[in-house]
């Protein structure tokens, strides 16, 4: 009876996810194995193309660099926020939430204004005589990474503040009073306790950058194509749906593999958490 009640309440949402997410996505992946050219043909085609391999490698590279930078910036920021007095902490959290709630288009657009040929950074650099000619900053890998870091730092900060707040001050002071230098307290007390949070943050940022569309499109353009923009181009510009489905399948597999791998790593490092 109870089992029935539980299922009947959960069934509308369950059906919605199964019918409109699981089945369509599985169907997309299955079609890549059912092409007239043979079951693995689309994948052989993908990995056989130097251009596509470059795109995949670029996407992994951009996502990894973004993740590392966001971890570094986010961790220090979250640590300071978590140790700030109450009123300041609230203000800082609001300041981190605000960009997070501002959409990805607006946030990428902001960087287009900054990094453009006649953008703010170039005007400032030329105006102050540091450089003679405006530099090309937009449509480079650097631009994509800066904007991605901008996108994900707030997420990282908010993920880590909760984790770092739960480390008692007493513990940090105990470490210091036992003679540990700040750096030792950091590496031996704070860092190990923050690992589960760092892993969650890293997974969110990596998978988010790996599958991003708007930011690489706006700041990287054609020359910095990544998996997301290539998939869109294949689906909506060249209408090669088999190729788009193949890219989709590769994105799903890599995303889920990363999540599973990191969950396992987190469990091994800290069996109590996760």
């Amino acid at each position: 009876m109870k089992r029935f009640a539980g299922w009947s309440l959960a069934s509308p949402a369950t059906l919605a996810v199964v019918i409109f997410l699981v089945l369509p996505v599985v169907a997309t992946i299955i079609t890549t194995f059912l092409t007239p050219a043979g079951p693995l043909a689309p994948y052989i085609g993908f990995f056989g193309s130097g251009f596509r391999r470059t795109v995949l490698w670029r996407t992994i590279q951009v996502s990894l660099i973004t993740t590392v930078i966001a971890l570094f910036i986010g961790f220090i920021t979250a640590y300071v926020v978590s140790r700030s007095p109450g009123w300041l902490k609230s203000i800082l959290i609001i300041a981190a939430v605000f960009p997070l709630l501002t959409g990805v288009v607006v946030r990428s657009f902001a960087w287009m204004i900054i990094l453009g040929k006649n953008g703010i950074l170039n005007s400032a650099l030329v105006g102050s005589g540091i450089i003679a000619e405006p530099m090309t900053m937009l449509y480079t890998q650097g631009a994509v990474i800066v904007a991605m870091v901008y996108l994900f730092v707030p997420l990282m900060v908010l993920t880590l503040v909760g984790v770092l707040e739960s480390i008692p001050d007493d513990l940090i002071q105990a470490s210091a009073s036992l003679g540990a230098k700040p750096m030792a307290t950091f590496t031996q007390v704070i860092l190990p306790l923050a690992v589960p949070g760092l892993i969650v943050g890293a997974v969110l940022v990596f998978t988010g950058s790996f599958t991003a569309y708007a930011t690489p499109q706006l700041l990287g353009g054609e020359s910095q194509m990544v998996m997301g923009t290539l998939m869109y181009q294949q689906a909506m510009v060249t209408f090669d749906w088999v190729s788009a489905s193949t890219i989709a399948a590769i994105m799903v597999v890599i995303t889920i593999a990363i999540v599973l791998l990191m969950t396992r790593v987190a469990k091994r490092l800290n069996p109590m958490a996760v």
Binding site: V17, G162, D169, Y232
Partner: protein
């Protein structure tokens, strides 16, 4: 007594917040500019670009579409998500463990893949109206937020209160509205707001499910940018930021913003 922070750490954090907020201030500046091209600091203040948003019919249309889609999909997600979250908490033992994982799937599966799959296997395959597919896509996108936030507020709810009401003769539906809902009210508000904002800002799903005649605001912004790189986009961005501020004010009033860090 709190831990002392090294001045270098404080300086670094201050710079990070300049990095986080600075670009958004620049967008506001650009929106107020008097010139036809984007500059900062603005040369002469003007509100003409705000007027321009409403002069362009495509923007007017997409603002309305985006609001409709956000309301509809949030409503649907709440309608199916609240009972699901309730079931997951109340009948935890009776339901299989994978069920809660299922409701996280929309976050796990890349949005682009979901958008493309909905286009390919639902909209085109079954000739479903694009508007409907857009609502379905957005409902799925926001469902995990609803389930997670409502579950979090149910975690502290004592189900024996509800059982007491039922054993005293209160009908289930009445119990739901008079006992349960008031207890998770703040969770519902939070879920509504998060979902609404997520839907309004979505690009990755919408980009596949918009076409001639129907588009959402972020997609229209992208399209506009390809043709004109003028301050209109900045002023639309400011409108979206104003919406965000309004939403944050509501969250602050009802829950306190630190809630979002949990």
């Amino acid at each position: 007594m709190t831990t002392k922070l090294h001045p270098a750490l404080i300086a670094f954090t201050a710079l990070v917040f300049v990095f986080l907020i600075g670009p958004l201030i620049i967008v506001v500046g650009a929106a107020l500019s008097d010139t036809t091209y984007l500059t900062f600091p603005p040369q002469g203040l003007s509100l003409r670009w705000f007027e321009n948003i409403f002069a362009i019919s495509a923007f007017r249309r997409t603002i309305i579409t985006s609001l409709q889609i956000a309301f509809l999909s949030t409503f649907i997600a709440l309608l199916i998500g609240i009972p699901a979250a309730y079931a997951l908490n109340r009948y935890r033992v009776q339901l299989p463990g994978w069920l809660s994982t299922l409701f996280v799937l929309p976050i796990l599966v890349p949005e682009l893949v979901l958008g493309f799959s909905l286009l390919k296997n639902v909209a085109v395959q079954f000739n479903a109206p694009i508007y409907l597919s857009l609502v379905v896509g957005h409902s799925l996108l926001v469902l995990p937020y609803v389930v997670r936030v409502i579950s979090a507020s149910l975690a502290s709810f004592d189900f024996s209160i509800e059982e007491a009401a039922i054993s005293l003769g209160s009908p289930p539906l009445k119990t739901f509205f008079t006992i349960l809902l008031p207890n998770v009210r703040s969770g519902v508000i939070a879920a509504f707001i998060l979902s609404f904002i997520t839907s309004i800002n979505d690009v990755s799903i919408s980009i596949f499910l918009t076409g001639p005649g129907i588009s959402t605001l972020p997609i229209q912004i992208l399209a506009h940018m390809e043709q004109f790189f003028d301050p209109t986009v900045a002023s639309v961005s400011v409108l979206l930021m104003a919406l965000t501020v309004a939403v944050m004010a509501i969250v602050e009033r009802t829950l306190g913003l630190t809630f979002l860090a949990k």
